[in-house]
């Protein structure tokens, strides 16, 4: 331990953030966290982005973490400030996003008395954090902050919460930031057992119809290069989940894209006709597997994950591989090459089969009768983005537009597709985009949002406008809670209960202008390209209100609980399919 410096608890929180390399934090001040904001006024290298709602701050921290690979930080006051973070905490939990949430708590002597703005936030969030700390002694603050960052970023990443009583923030003490953490019960794996690697390599070489099934864990582990090396050296075809999107270049011929409920028929078939499924950093989510007993029925499973509890949780793993992906994938690629002494294994017939399916069952939709289709808008955004210099990072809300974004947006670099997968949090897109922009000011950040989603967090446009974090938001405005409407149409006999939002209220372009952003209304296919270009060149945040066909449904679709091979395809009678 180095020399100690006399300071207040509030200053110590900021010194801890600086020690951890945090350059941006997102939050909103309030009574119980005021001393820490006062410390910001005394000076810190941490940039604070002032959100308009704590949920927004939380999603910004998530977007920042996903785009940068660093730990995000969100700060709120006690009580409602803290409970407003809960949705973002749950979201980070479900998608394994490393975020340190810092909340103020009422004074120690008031804890447990139902004091003003007192909520037991460590109790409320217990099932959705990796760990949490309620700090009531300022001497514990440095080690707690150190532990919080360590737990958030090591092992399977995820959210942690540090709840700091107001008097602790105000207390003076001798501060030194510890070099080590003291967490005897926290021992995530740091290496992979060589026997597991050998068995996996042997199975890969022996397989006739292998398929890699890659998830968000690859991105969290920054293991894209190692994954690509394995794909290339062993000629392994891959499917990539929604959370994994961008972990493998989408122009790569062996990348067969997303399986699952709205994934392609060929990706679902690839998984389900395989004789070996190599699951990497993924968790056999029900949105991918459909009916588990009918999922990849003939396949042996290699399940490789940093989290031992995921291996075998849903599907038995014939070859469990537990450990860090970056290290393990590199070892696996080397081992596959060593086992396949005669060169790369030949999966020729299988690859030809996959290619046939890809040609036979592309994503498609019917362009019809002068009505603007949402997929057309997303394709136009994709094409416009491809023409830009520099990286483009995409974020989405949750629903139909998210699934179309998954289907039509093309990502070449890791961490360029940021979405709420596990929790399915509507309203994620705009704040996540702001967080991503804060992490990557050099990149163009485009949020593909739905009109329902947008209205849940659109107040953060003020944050984007005033903090100099320009983003482009394309509201795929079909005037409905589109995915719910789709289910009502398909499974609830067209009883459209409480899903109609209307195209026109609010007027999104005017709303954008009111928030200091540029607003554009797009009603026809012809207006699309010009408006998109104008939005991209606006020099400030922009909102595209893209008024689309309210009846368009997202296909293909595997109905909930059905076998993933039983895909409902887009109906073809509506007109010319593209």
């Amino acid at each position: 331990m180095t020399t100690k410096t006399r300071m207040l608890g509030s200053d110590a929180i900021l010194r801890a953030l600086e020690h951890e390399g945090v350059d941006v934090a997102f939050g909103i001040p309030g009574g119980a966290i005021l001393p820490t904001y006062d410390a910001m006024a005394r000076g810190t290298s941490v940039r604070h982005v002032l959100a308009r709602h704590e949920q927004g701050a939380g999603h910004m921290a998530e977007g920042y973490a996903r785009a940068s690979g660093k730990v995000g930080v969100a700060i709120a006051t006690s009580g409602p400030g803290a409970t407003n973070l809960v949705t973002a905490i749950a979201d980070a939990w479900m998608d394994s996003t490393p975020v340190v949430f810092i909340t103020g708590q009422v004074r120690s002597e008031l804890i447990g008395t139902d004091a003003f703005q007192e909520v037991d936030i460590t109790g409320v969030t217990m099932p959705i954090v990796k760990h949490s700390w309620l700090v009531q002694d300022v001497e514990e603050l440095p080690s707690v902050m150190k532990a919080a960052f360590h737990v958030a970023r090591t092992g399977r990443q995820g959210p942690v919460l540090v709840d700091v009583a107001k008097d602790v923030q105000e207390a003076a003490f001798d501060f030194a930031y510890p070099d080590e953490v003291d967490l005897p019960g926290w021992r995530p794996p740091t290496k992979v057992h060589p026997r597991q690697i050998r068995e996996a390599a042997k199975a890969i070489v022996e397989a006739k119809r292998p398929i890699l099934y890659c998830g968000g864990g690859v991105l969290n582990a920054d293991a894209s290069a190692e994954l690509l090396a394995l794909v290339d050296s062993a000629h392994l075809p891959a499917v990539v989940t929604l959370m994994g999107k961008s972990c493998l270049p989408e122009s790569h011929s062996l990348n067969y894209g997303a399986p699952g409920m709205h994934g392609s028929k060929y990706a679902n078939w690839a998984l389900n006709k395989a004789d070996l499924v190599i699951a990497v950093g993924t968790r056999f989510d029900d949105r991918v597997t459909g009916k588990v007993s009918a999922f990849a029925p003939g396949a042996k499973v290699i399940h490789f994950d940093i989290d031992a509890a995921e291996v075998g949780k849903i599907r038995h793993a014939d070859i469990p591989v537990v450990g860090p992906l970056k290290l393990g994938l590199a070892q696996l690629a080397a081992e596959v090459s060593a086992v396949a002494a005669d060169g790369a294994p030949d999966h020729g017939p299988w690859l030809r089969q996959l290619e046939d399916w890809r040609e036979q069952f592309p994503f498609r939709y019917a362009k019809g009768n002068g009505v603007l289709k949402p997929q057309t808008a997303i394709e136009a955004l994709r094409d416009a983005a491809a023409g830009l210099d520099g990286d483009v990072i995409w974020t989405t809300g949750v629903g139909q537009h998210q699934m179309w974004a998954m289907q039509y947006v093309q990502c070449e670099k890791p961490r360029t597709f940021i979405t709420s997968g596990g929790a399915g949090t509507m309203g994620y897109g705009v704040p996540a985009a702001i967080g991503a922009k804060a992490a990557r000011p050099d990149a163009t950040v485009i949020c593909i949002d739905g009109d329902g989603c947008f209205q849940m967090t659109c107040q953060e446009l003020a944050t984007a406008a005033l903090e100099g974090l320009p983003i482009v938001t394309a509201v795929i405005n079909n005037g409905w809670l589109g995915m719910v409407r789709q289910w009502q149409e398909m499974f609830y006999a067209e009883r459209f209960a409480e899903t109609h939002l209307t195209h026109a209220v609010p007027d999104y372009a005017q709303l954008a202008e009111a928030y200091g952003c540029a607003g554009f209304t797009v009603e026809t296919e012809e207006q699309l390209e010009e408006s998109i270009q104008a939005a991209l060149q606006a020099g400030r945040s922009a909102v595209l209100d893209v008024r689309c066909d309210p009846e368009e449904k997202c296909f293909p679709m595997v109905p909930a609980g059905a076998a993933a091979v039983d895909v409902i395809e887009a109906p073809s009678e509506e007109g010319a399919l593209t």
Partner: protein, 163 residues
Amino acid sequence: MSTHTISVRLENKPGALARVSQLFSRRGYNIQSLAVGPTEDDDISRLTLRVDCSEHSLEQIEKQMHKLVNVLRVTELRPDESLERELALITVAVAPDRRAELVSLAQVSGAHVADIGRDAITFEVVGRPDQVEAFEELVRPYGVRELVRTGRVGLRRPSRTAT
């Protein structure tokens, strides 16, 4: 489904027990009994949990518990490799004329009289869970007024533990 005994070494920190018990309710595992207390180390508590679950669930429980920051070690206590004990206090209604009969019954069962009232006796019984159960069954016909059991505590037998 079968019943398993799990022993958990846990850091003695605020909220640590709540984290373990919420994990069980959150993941839908049913706890039959839970006993917690200090160990040879002041900073560490030991939990003994009885759970009714399948082998697959047991594996999941152990893995999920390992991820809790305060959990130091999780071990299943297999019956042939471990010692298990339980304490029960049982208040049995008894008329004065049948007291002697009940007390001698307790004596042969290894239970002790903890308190005697005008129309009831409280027995304490310590032993293997099946012994505690047997005594409970034995006195039940007299009328059990109140009963409390600690839930079992357990340790691995040093005689069966490879070092």
